[in-house]
Amino acid sequence: MLSRVANTFYWMVRYVERADNLARLIDVIQQLLLDSERLDSERLRGFWQPIILSTGDDEVFSSLYDKAGSAEVIRFLTDDLRNSNSITSCIGLARENARTVRDQLSDELWEEINALYLFTRSEEANRLIASDPPRYYANIRRSAETFLGIASSTISRNEAWDFMDLGRHLERADKTTRFLDVASYLPGGAEGVEMAAPGILHWTAILRSCGALGAFRAFKGGIHARGVVDFLVFSKDFPRSVRFCIEKADVSLHRISGTPRGTFSNDAERETGRLLADLNFGSTEDAFAGGLHEYLDSLQGRFNRIGEAIFESYVLMPERIELCDVDGSRSPSALAAWQMQQQQQQQQ
């Protein structure tokens, strides 16, 4: 498969997954606000600031908005095209990637992402965001899930699928840590709210945003920091837990290279294998030893390194490009432009 096409599949799915997660997050926080009584603007800000921070766009937000009230944050995260990580932006990028590999997608798969794109840019969407947000977010989630469902039933289990699966699980692992990290920004931090009543409210919201509340009850964990972290980071079975996602990413990487699992043939496999071992043999003790936020931060750093290593190994291939300089005809500027273009998609 063409390197560029592999990269495109990978990002197409990452952007769909990102939009899906964002829709979950905003919806749950909105619901949560309905449960809370009389929030003054300071408390309100306390609620939203972490959401913006959790998507990593704080600077952009501050430069565009004066205050962090519900209306502003929702607008920023949902359909502000100036925010390249808003739901509307993500769907636009996913669709742009899909358009590039349109020749390899089933008609139904293309139609689903295209329909979702047309929806996010429609008057109807605009109206729903204002009048019935839960329905808007439900639409986004349902369409994202339909997209993945159609993909899983119409894409051959070849490299295209492996790169899609890889993108989906890395994005999902990243977003799960960011959901958990929301707690760190709340007054008192994760440890502070562990036993307190508002803590339960927050942890419940986080579980719900991952669609994990039911599964968590069956897991019989207590709704407190350690129980939730144990589930969302270390669960072997829950499809949004970090460990589960990294396990899947490891499987995909080894299917792509054909290297047996437990060994590695490139940096992406090595980084992933290392992280997987830490998760397989680790526990909540590790997560809280140096502070939850620091732990999650280090996980996110490792996801990024895996992403970079995948890009280096399969898309950039620097050692192979050097080989191509043999006849001296590849002009450096064209190569640089190509690399820059590929990297533009690499927004974490």
Partner: protein
């Protein structure tokens, strides 16, 4: 019939109605079937066909629209119908023409007999904007230069067909031909019953067979790719569509690298050799080492591999010389010179501003003529004499005098019309026809072609960039 009540064929050649408003025999069954539709039903189905294009993403962007609104290319559901014998005539004429054009290109890039015999003045070739003298003596696979040709056909007031121009570089639009048929079949299945409409879906297969035919490596399965400028190109949908239908990879310039005069594509498993490139990038951009240095769309070193015979390009480099409207003037002479035959399809009468007598005539009749720049397309660089202002005419007079080699003039041909749904009524609109001729181990032409329609009342310009739409084209079996 309701929708056609009061339809006025006007003083033009109408594809569906004769001058006395009687329906032409081969259109009668179609008219009957449309007659059975209630207007409301017709409109619902028309809207469905539009939705099909929107959902398939067969759209273009509306500039200056921040939300990125997209529009579809207008599609008119009333097909253009062509009887079998009419098509046979066109097929024979187009085949004759592409064979002659290829002999001509081979000749001017080798011995230049046609110049030595003074059938075409040498200066016209050497001044042609897209002539590539540096490729003289380069052999191309199977001696084919134009593998895919889009020759635009028009019909005059008496129904006679003329060739308006040849597009021998990267003619586009074939995907619309195929998708128009799909959309019409979905929205109006009933009108196809027993009509004996010839299918068009062989196009991608014919295209792939041609690509295989020109592969330099004769052993095994050649690797063919489609080279696109990228997903921001307005024809990107078509590139994807054709690549998918053929089952070949669609590549951008950066996906290809040249090592030791061989072309490879960069895959996740390393470099893979490429044999044939169906390129949808113009000569100017295809290799920054040889042509435009600032092009980031192309592949550095590609021309080196091409001249060494290690990769085939469709179409070949340098075919643009045949698109030059001054060279077009000589195509009937090429047919006689190389084939010893009379041209089956005539050119539109053409005057060359670089010939003294013609120039005098052109300057004396500007308000009656259409003037065209020799190397422009898409309806640009044109003067439509009868509708032009005094200023426009004066401007063109200056331009012609300053650079006569670059201008031709033709009498205005009153293009034939076809009934078209326009805001609540059937009205006649002018149309042309772009067939797609494929030249591999044999000449293949998908029945019909893309019928383009000028949706603006009285307009003769069918280009999509200037308010044009399209129709399905039916060639009947009998």
């Amino acid at each position: 019939m309701e929708m056609f009540k009061g339809y006025d064929p006007g003083k033009f050649y109408d594809e569906m109605f004769a001058a006395d408003s009687a329906v032409r025999g081969h259109c009668a069954p179609l008219l009957r079937r449309f007659g059975q539709l209630e207007q409301q039903d017709f409109l619902t189905r028309k809207a469905n066909s539009e939705l099909y294009f929107l959902r398939q993403g067969i759209t273009f962007n509306v500039y200056h629209d921040k939300r990125g609104t997209e529009r579809i290319f207008p599609f008119d559901p009333v097909p253009r119908v062509m009887p079998a014998d009419e098509w046979e005539h066109l097929e024979a004429g187009l085949t004759q023409r592409i064979v002659a054009l290829n002999l001509f290109l081979h000749d001017i890039y080798h011995d230049q007999r046609i110049l030595k015999d003074e059938v075409i003045p040498r200066a016209y070739i050497e001044q042609a904007k897209h002539y590539r003298p540096e490729f003289r003596g380069v052999d191309v696979p199977a001696d084919i230069y134009i593998h895919i040709c889009g020759s635009d056909l028009i019909r005059g007031a008496d129904g006679q067909y003329f060739v308006l121009e040849d597009n021998g570089r990267c003619p586009s639009g074939a995907s619309y031909l195929l998708e128009n048929r799909n959309a019409l079949k979905r929205a109006f299945p009933g009108i196809f019953d027993d009509m004996g409409v010839r299918p068009v879906d062989s196009y991608p297969r014919d295209l792939l067979n041609m690509l295989h035919h020109i592969a330099p490596r004769r052993d095994g399965d050649p690797v063919c790719v489609l080279l696109t400028p990228g997903c921001h190109n307005s024809a990107y949908f078509e590139h994807c569509y054709l690549a998918r239908e053929m089952g070949i990879d669609i590549v951008e310039g950066g996906d290809l690298v040249v090592v030791d005069k061989f072309v490879y594509m960069r895959t996740t498993r390393g470099l893979k050799r490429v044999d044939v490139i169906y390129r949808r990038i113009d000569d100017d951009f295809i290799d920054p080492v040889v042509f435009r240095k600032d092009s980031v769309l192309g592949v550095p070193g590609l021309m080196n591999a091409y001249c060494s015979g290690n990769v085939a390009l469709a179409n070949a480099v340098g075919t643009g010389v045949a698109d030059d409207k001054v060279i077009y003037y000589f195509v009937p002479r090429m047919i006689e010179y190389y084939l010893g035959q009379k041209p089956i399809l005539p050119n539109v009468p053409t005057y060359l501003a670089s010939e003294e007598a013609d120039l005098k005539f052109i300057l004396g009749h500007l308000p009656e003529l259409v003037v065209k720049a020799a190397n422009e397309s898409g309806g640009y660089g044109m003067l439509m004499g009868p509708t032009a202002s005094r200023d426009q005419i004066a401007t063109f007079r200056e331009r012609i005098l300053a650079d006569p080699r670059n201008y031709i003039a033709q009498p205005i041909v009153a293009l034939s019309r076809s009934p078209t749904w326009c805001d609540g009524a059937m009205e006649g609109r002018h149309i042309d026809l772009r067939p797609y001729i494929i030249y591999g181990n044999e000449v293949k032409i998908v029945p019909g072609g893309l019928t383009r329609v000028a949706l603006t009342k009285d307009s003769l310009i069918v280009n999509s960039s200037q308010g044009g739409g399209s129709k399905d084209t039916w060639v009947l079996r009998h």
